[in-house]
């Protein structure tokens, strides 16, 4: 059959969100395997900082650090995940603007926000892979023993970083509006260290902030071996509530910012 004949027999089918998710994940996969240097570079940099933290900390704090090393490993694992989730959308939007492909993601029947969010999720999947490598190396280097219940870790860590994904969505919207601010917003990721360390102190009202409550649950899961179903409904409810709350907040900010960018005529300008 000729190409033209083949086309005549074709009936274009509508793509659903399943197809969209597959397309953005596949693109992420292609870039990951085709340009591994980017991913490997990220892993090396993260491990270098952990090395400085671990060996430097041992020299300064000695036994005190060794006693709390499990917490530090889990916290650092969560931090690498959070940084990936947070910066994924705004960095992606920044890149799309530079590449000249942003408008095509705006002009889609799926809507810009759902596409941006799905692209962020695809980046999170990628971040999970790289953060897992980092986690394994940290465990080997420090000789730490952790409870690695896959279901619990994936569920708690995912819900924890969804709140940060919401912040990233808001940051992405602001990046559309003010291109240069994107880089400054990346500095916020250092604030995540405080939120992740919050469980070490009294959580209080901080449990309603992104990461803090999730970080506490992840510590209990990985250090104390608590399983997902062993957490209290209140703890799990709060984890889900914080995740959904910040995601919705980020979505609203994103929608507002992109509408304003269209009003000002700056969408896609570089």
């Amino acid at each position: 059959m000729t190409a033209r004949g083949a086309e005549a027999a074709e009936t274009p089918r509508k793509a659903g969100y399943r197809h969209l998710a597959r397309a953005v994940l596949y693109r992420e996969f292609l870039l990951f395997v085709r340009y591994p240097a980017n991913a490997v570079g990220g892993i090396v940099v993260s491990l270098f900082f952990f090395g400085v933290l671990f060996y430097g900390g041992q020299m300064v704090a000695g036994q005190a650090l060794t006693d709390s090393i499990e917490g530090i490993v889990v916290g650092y694992f969560l931090w690498t995940l959070s940084v990936g989730a947070y910066s994924s959308i705004s960095n992606d939007i920044g890149s799309e603007v530079q590449w000249g492909t942003l408008e095509r993601h705006v002009m889609t029947p799926f809507g810009f926000a759902p596409v941006a969010l799905l692209k962020g999720v695809a980046k999170i999947v990628r971040t999970f892979l790289t953060s897992t490598v980092i986690l394994v190396v940290m465990i080997v280097v420090t000789g730490t023993t952790l409870e690695l219940n896959l279901l619990t870790i994936v569920a708690v860590a995912t819900l924890t970083i969804v709140s940060v994904l919401g912040l990233g969505l808001a940051a992405g919207g602001i990046t559309v509006l003010y291109k240069q601010i994107g880089n400054w917003l990346n500095l916020l990721q250092f604030g995540f260290i405080v939120l992740i360390s919050a469980p070490a102190f009294d959580l209080g009202w901080m449990r309603f902030l992104p990461l803090a409550h999730g970080s506490a649950l992840l510590q209990r899961a990985m250090v104390d071996g608590i399983r997902l179903w062993e957490f209290s409904p209140i703890d799990l409810g709060l984890l889900v509530g914080v995740a959904v709350g910040y995601l919705v907040l980020g979505y609203v900010v994103f929608q507002y910012a992109t509408r304003r960018a269209r009003r000002l005529g700056v969408l896609g300008d570089y």
């Binding site: 190409a3 292609l30 002009m107 029947p109």
Partner: protein, 384 residues
């Protein structure tokens, strides 16, 4: 519907019935529904004289009273000023205008990338601002030339990705992708990353990704910018062929008058945010009162050449060993005056050649007339 008298698009004209079928092409069972729900009736109707006439079809693009201002107060700039237009299905419309005339803002406003202060835009009958997601199922755009796709992915991966983004399952249009690749001479490069292709090929990949999902209306901003002559011609030829074969509607903006003259059925000239001319290329060329003559004579020397240089702005002089050749573009009065001055100076006309005006002449005439009018209006207002 704009009446075209150049006959260029006659072969592409689809009948009202065909369009009706297209509009109603909402196949059940998960297939793409691309029917403009705001479509006007397309049946045949009868006029006063009982002649059967095709009823007015839904235009591919319909813009009403579109205005956009940037800034406030005295610094405000009106980028689009009360623009209304309709673009019929299956035509290629060129958008011409000097830098800063408002072409890009107009295109971005039509596409909903920029929200206007006033006005409405309908694509295939669907309001772009009220129901953007539905409207975007019909339209795609190449606003960034060769930068319109992912350079790190291969040509085919780009086609599949952007097909999905435009709302169509890429597995269902494989044949279309194969045909596009073959038509645009990209088949051999299908599995090559875009970054490894030449500029001309990158541009063609951009066009292919815009067409990959089967959009019915496409916008191309400077599609031939940066291309060499050969690549530009190939792209123009392919574009024309695709429009003829697919019944596509294309709106393209370009600085390259040759591209617009060769490819477009109709031209909109934008100046200062307004449409100052809207006609077929031929009608614009016929309607101009610009005449270009080349006159050679051994008598074209010193004083008379200086006199003509002072009198006519659009003059080129090529001096020979004896005499010279002048190339003057002017209106009817100017032409009479030119000949009178030559006669008064006893110049024997050895060779006179008239050159048909091209789109560039028309463009210069219209935009400079508009600028003159605007300046006169401003002076008048200042005097008051």
């Amino acid at each position: 519907m704009t009446v075209r008298d150049d006959g260029r698009s006659a072969s592409r004209e689809r009948t009202g019935t065909e369009i009706d079928e297209t509009a109603a092409n909402s196949v059940s069972g998960g297939s793409v529904e691309r029917s403009g729900t705001g479509a006007e009736p397309t049946d045949r109707v009868t006029d006063d004289t009982n002649r059967s006439l095709p009823a007015r079809r839904t235009p591919a693009v319909s813009v009403t009273g579109l205005s956009k201002r940037f800034g406030d107060g005295t610094d405000a700039i009106t980028a689009v000023d009360d623009v209304s237009l309709e673009i019929e299905t299956g035509s290629i419309v060129g958008l011409l205008g000097p830098n800063g005339a408002g072409k890009t803002t107009l295109i971005k406003s039509i596409l909903g990338m920029v929200f206007p202060d006033e006005g409405t835009v309908r694509i295939q009958g669907i309001d772009v601002y009220d129901r953007p997601r539905e409207a975007y199922a019909f339209v795609d755009a190449m606003l960034e030339g060769a930068r319109n796709d992912y350079w790190r992915l291969t040509v085919r991966e780009n086609l599949r990705y952007f097909t999905t983004i435009s709302g169509v399952d890429p597995d269902s249009v494989r044949g279309r992708h194969d045909r596009l690749l073959s038509q645009l001479e990209l088949a051999e490069k299908a599995d090559v990353p875009v970054r490894d292709l030449s500029r001309g090929m990158k541009q063609k990949v951009s066009l292919a990704t815009v067409l990959a999902g089967g959009a019915e209306v496409i916008f191309l901003d400077e599609p031939t910018l940066g291309l060499d002559v050969e690549s530009s011609r190939t792209l123009q030829r392919e574009l024309r062929r695709l429009v003829e074969e697919e019944g596509l509607t294309v709106v393209l903006s370009s600085h390259d008058m040759d591209v617009v003259e060769t490819v477009c059925d109709r031209v909109l000239i934008v100046s200062n945010g307004r449409i100052i001319a809207d006609d077929s290329v031929d009608a614009l060329l016929r309607g101009t009162d610009r005449h270009r003559v080349q006159i050679s004579s051994a008598d074209l020397i010193g004083p008379i050449v200086s006199e003509l240089r002072n009198r006519f702005d659009a003059i080129d002089v090529e001096e020979f060993e004896i005499g010279a050749r002048i190339d003057v573009t002017t209106d009817s009065d100017g032409l009479y005056e030119l000949l009178a001055r030559l006669r008064a100076a006893d110049v024997t006309l050895e060779r006179v050649r008239t050159v048909e005006p091209d789109l560039e002449d028309v463009f210069v005439e219209l935009t400079s007339a508009e600028v003159r009018e605007r300046t006169a209006r401003r002076l008048e207002e200042d005097e008051r």
